[in-house]
Amino acid sequence: MPDELRPPPKIRARGRSFLALVLSPEPALADWLLGLDAQIARSSTFFAGKPVILDLSLLDAGTEGLAGLYPALRERGIRIIGIEGGDPSWPACAQWDWPAGFMGGRASGAVEIPEDTATATAPEAPRGSSMILEQPIRSGQTIMNPDGDIIIVGSVASGAEVTAGGSIHVYGPLRGRAIAGMNGQPDARIFAHSMQAELAAIDGYYITAEEIDPRYVQQPAQIILSNDTLVVQPLVPPTFAGRKT
């Protein structure tokens, strides 16, 4: 079929709406910027990735510091997609990279800027829910549960990595890496039905396979952190004193 007879491909488009924030700076601009900085300090990620429209209606051509306002906002990582209430012919705005505006738009009320609370109160080491897995963990897979224990009913292959905020329990051969107590929990432990770990770490302290006593390799064992040293202990069934066999 000759090219000119072929219909041009149909272009598909989908709609997506974002909420743009409208910032209305007030004079004196230096004070307003200080207030903005204080707000960003309390809510560091609030403006990240959000479109912002700059409303200049409270200012005029002669407002002190107007020329520096646009660069000051850009410097703070604020992405300005439109400017309204001002005029590109204002001399102070001559250097601005005046974005093409958008049409339409519906006003929606004031936006509450959330405050970061995480920094104020350090979270108490969360002992969240356990993660239970019943399939073999393959080489290259990473399993992570930052809030609690990981229980694996099966094997962990060489080259796999299991990372838990709490303890790690492997009811099978542990041949990969086990990283327990990742958020700074020295009392976390690593248990394996058959200990063959490539690397074991608790609260940042680690040992490699070579450092594990060969007597405990391929045996049921646990690894604990004691005086900043990882200790491998055999998991032996309890013996009953005085009981005759």
Partner: protein, 270 residues
């Protein structure tokens, strides 16, 4: 001045990792400071072939991302003290390799070692590209089969166009390493002839490695064949290839089993 060598092929399973380990060990045995670098992020094997898998703590990606210093990730071989390995990460993929990160690590390795040998992943994508980018020399590992030869031809084209040297108007020195060569099958005409491979690829021949059980045994033992059985035909072929890399002029032969007592007594009819 350090020399950066990439061991590459395009096709998988032709013997890149085995050759990296064997050549690295052979060069280190001559007293050179050698590091072998695994670029096969996500499918690392070089640590196993080198017998270092039980000592891996940090890897190339950790160094690139600034989580570990290069000195923390380098593992020194226990048998040859001038040989080190920089392992790859098994839990990441090749997207974790950044051009800037690789450049920085290669610069640091150049300062520390005489030879930096990069084990390329199979394929022609990002991982293979980054492994070859900084190379001064390339060893193209090829089996005497049409599919392997065609893939090698493709890789040679990339070595001449997409590497740092090529972009600067220079040339990478490329050598052909013919592996898994079976003289018996060749005699029966079941394999491409050496002359045909050389004619198609037209790069100098670095060596011919015979197909051998020793190579398989060495990999499973976690020792390069040049360490585990230095007198075997493949080990001798690798050792000679390493000497050619260092500039010696040696005639390329197909090493065979050393002749036994009977063969020496009866040299044939006079």
């Amino acid at each position: 001045m350090a020399k950066v060598l990439v061991v590459t092929s395009g096709k998988g399973g032709v013997g890149k990792t085995t050759s990296t380990a064997a050549l690295g060990a052979a060069l280190a045995q001559t007293g050179q400071n050698v590091v072998v670098v695994d670029f096969d992020v996500g499918l690392r094997n070089l640590d196993l072939v080198m017998g270092a898998e039980r000592r891996v703590v940090f890897d190339l990606i950790n160094v690139i991302q600034g989580d570990a210093k290069l000195s923390q990730a380098l593992i020194r071989d226990k048998r040859i003290e001038t040989l080190s390995i920089l392992p790859a990460s098994q839990t990441r993929d090749k997207d974790a390799l950044t051009a800037e990160g690789v450049a920085k690590v290669m610069q640091e390795l150049r300062e520390k070692f005489d030879w930096v040998i990069c084990d390329s992943p199979a394929g022609i994508e990002r991982g293979a590209q980054l492994a070859m980018y900084h190379a001064d020399y390339a060893v193209v590992v090829t089996n005497p089969e049409v599919s392997s030869v065609r893939d090698s031809d493709r890789i040679i084209g990339m070595l001449d166009s997409t590497t740092e040297r090529a972009k600067a108007g220079g040339k990478i020195e490329k050598y052909l390493l013919l592996t898994r060569y079976d003289p018996a099958r060749a005699a029966r005409g079941e394999m491409l002839r050496i002359e045909d491979v050389l004619e198609i690829l037209s790069i100098p021949l670095l060596g011919i490695i015979p197909e051998s059980e020793e190579v398989l045994r060495a990999s499973n033992l976690g020792a390069p064949v040049t360490i585990s059985s230095p007198d075997s035909p493949p080990a001798r072929a690798y050792a000679e290839a390493a000497r050619r890399l260092e500039g010696e002029k040696l005639e390329v032969t197909v090493p065979t089993e050393r002749k036994g007592l009977f063969a020496r007594l009866f040299k044939g009819r006079g």
